[in-house]
Amino acid sequence: MLALLRIAKLVVFISSSLFVISLLPTHSVHSQDASPSGSNLGPITVRAHDTDNDAGGSVTVEWDDPGYEKMSGFAGFLIWRTNTLTGTSDSVEVTPFGTHSYDDRSVSDDSTYSYLVAALVNSERVMSAPSMQVRSAKQWFDSRLTWVLILGLIICGAVIYFIESAKRGTKLFLRRIAGLEAIDEAVGRATEMGRPILFVAGIQDMDDVQTIAGLTILGSIARTVAEYDTKINMPVRASLVMTAARETIKHAYVTAGRPDAYNDDMVHYVTDEQFGFVAAVDGIMVRERPAACFFLGAFFAESLIMAETGNSIGAIQVAGTAMPAQLPFFVAACDYTLIGEELFAASAYLSGEPRQLGSLKGADVGKAIAMIVILVGVIATTIASAWNSESMLWIENLLRKMFSTG
């Protein structure tokens, strides 16, 4: 039965191919005198295969040009597709000069196809022989990302390993970060002066990790605030951040044993507009005169506007962001700045919890790998270019391949 079906398919395929060829106003590829300008060109060879690393529904057609592009009157290559199950044929695309491959994204994974490519020269079509039958399929793994997976697993593995070993009681050493030690000092001073603290978790929404990092630090700060009974004022630019920040502060107050002192109004929505938000925060600063300002999260151009206003009212300012372009402004105008990675590490530091600290040690493994790769890479490329060393070139190419991300 199955064999019969196959034979039937084959018959349909061959006959439909012949049908297509007979329909086209063309001459056999092999009859040389029939080529448009009488030149002596070989046949176009066509290969069709499933498109790599995709979700299915696409076939890649590739062909060699024996020289039709160079002929005057060349107008492009016509790609012709036959569905070998149904026998229907249609033209897919005419590709421009210089293109020798095409991804046909209009196929179904349930059918098989065969392709022809025709060179269009002076309204004539020089056909290739049909390609092998091909069926598109989806891949379960994007092979281009093999090195991403391997390196990612190594780093994540290191982080998880150190978290686990910290859980088992291994003592971990971490260096001090000046900006974090200043946080307690800043809250303490606000308490002494009887003035509020201002907290801004950046101007992005919850879909930015920096905002989440800011909120995790807010958790620690809010606990101190609750213990000291200081006032905290947190204007936000996005409603989701408002909801999340309220949960965070409330939790901190409960942990500190002061749930009654918590109030939803500590966090208030202002406006989603970047500079409208800045106008409001500036207003709050000069009117309420907070003793301490925290800017922890993702910031853009407003960083300096807020930090300079904070500076003008004499507040202690601690900032932290992973926006490289804004770091210089915070460094210039704030008392302490958490630079890049320090922002993400801060909450782990502040919590003092072993598992959290372990995760930082894991990230250090990643840094060690990066340093080694950069050292080896730059030295290898230098030697490779200066002395034409084969082995160094091999290392260079390996590294390029490992770290290329598509």
Partner: protein
């Protein structure tokens, strides 16, 4: 009077109001600030309403039959439960969804575009800028190498910055300082052009002092 003239006057008065903050907080600024907050919050709500709620959720589900988006609507409604004290805790579900999605997605994005691409770039661009074999190029390569590696040493958390390691980290901070100084210096000019635009508006479009 046509609307353009009224508009220009309005724009000029608002511009001056915001600038008055530089002198000190005052009634004029407070009014401008209040207008700014009210109008902009409304503007964003309207934008969200038409772009997300109407175009994505309503058109997507009702007209295009993309029922997968209903999941978002359900999570969104859960968010609103915050308004009802007793079942307010259910609002944590959409929050958990968002934090999980952000963590998962951004982890991969940062890993490929920041870590891998930067390591790749260090090796590649170094050769673009300093690929030759003269003194200039050799010095350039060494500086990039030292700068990147010592900078990473600065961020190394699990070792005390003392002795040789501390010295290396110190060099790393110097490189970070050069980076900050350079970015600051480079952006000054573009910041000035913003102010230029505003003052030009006041003098030319509004007061017509400059032709």
């Amino acid at each position: 009077m046509d609307s353009a003239i009224i508009g220009t006057w309005l724009a000029a008065l608002l511009t001056l109001g915001i600038m008055s903050f530089l002198y000190k907080d005052n009634l004029y600024y407070k009014i401008c600030e209040a207008i700014f907050i009210g109008i902009s919050a409304g503007l964003w709500f309207i934008t969200y309403f038409w772009d997300s709620l109407y175009r994505i959720a309503w058109i997507g589900v009702v007209h295009e039959g993309r029922y997968v988006l209903l999941g978002g609507v359900v999570l969104g409604v859960m968010m609103l439960m915050r308004l009802f004290g007793k079942i307010g805790w259910i609002a944590r579900w959409p929050l958990a969804f968002i934090v999980g999605a952000t963590a998962g997605l951004k982890m991969m994005v940062y890993f490929t575009t920041n870590a891998m691409a930067q390591i790749h770039g260090t090796v590649n661009d170094t050769m673009a800028a300093f690929g030759g074999s003269g003194l200039y190029d050799v010095v350039g390569r060494i500086v990039i190498l030292i700068g990147t590696v010592t900078g990473l040493v600065y961020f190394y958390f699990s070792k005390e910055h003392k002795g040789l390691f501390g010295g290396v980290a110190k060099v790393g901070t110097w490189f970070l300082m050069i980076t900050f100084g350079a970015s600051f210096g480079y952006t000054v000019m573009s910041r000035m052009s913003l102010l230029l635009g505003r003052i030009d508006f006041l003098l030319t479009d509004w007061l017509k002092l400059v032709k």
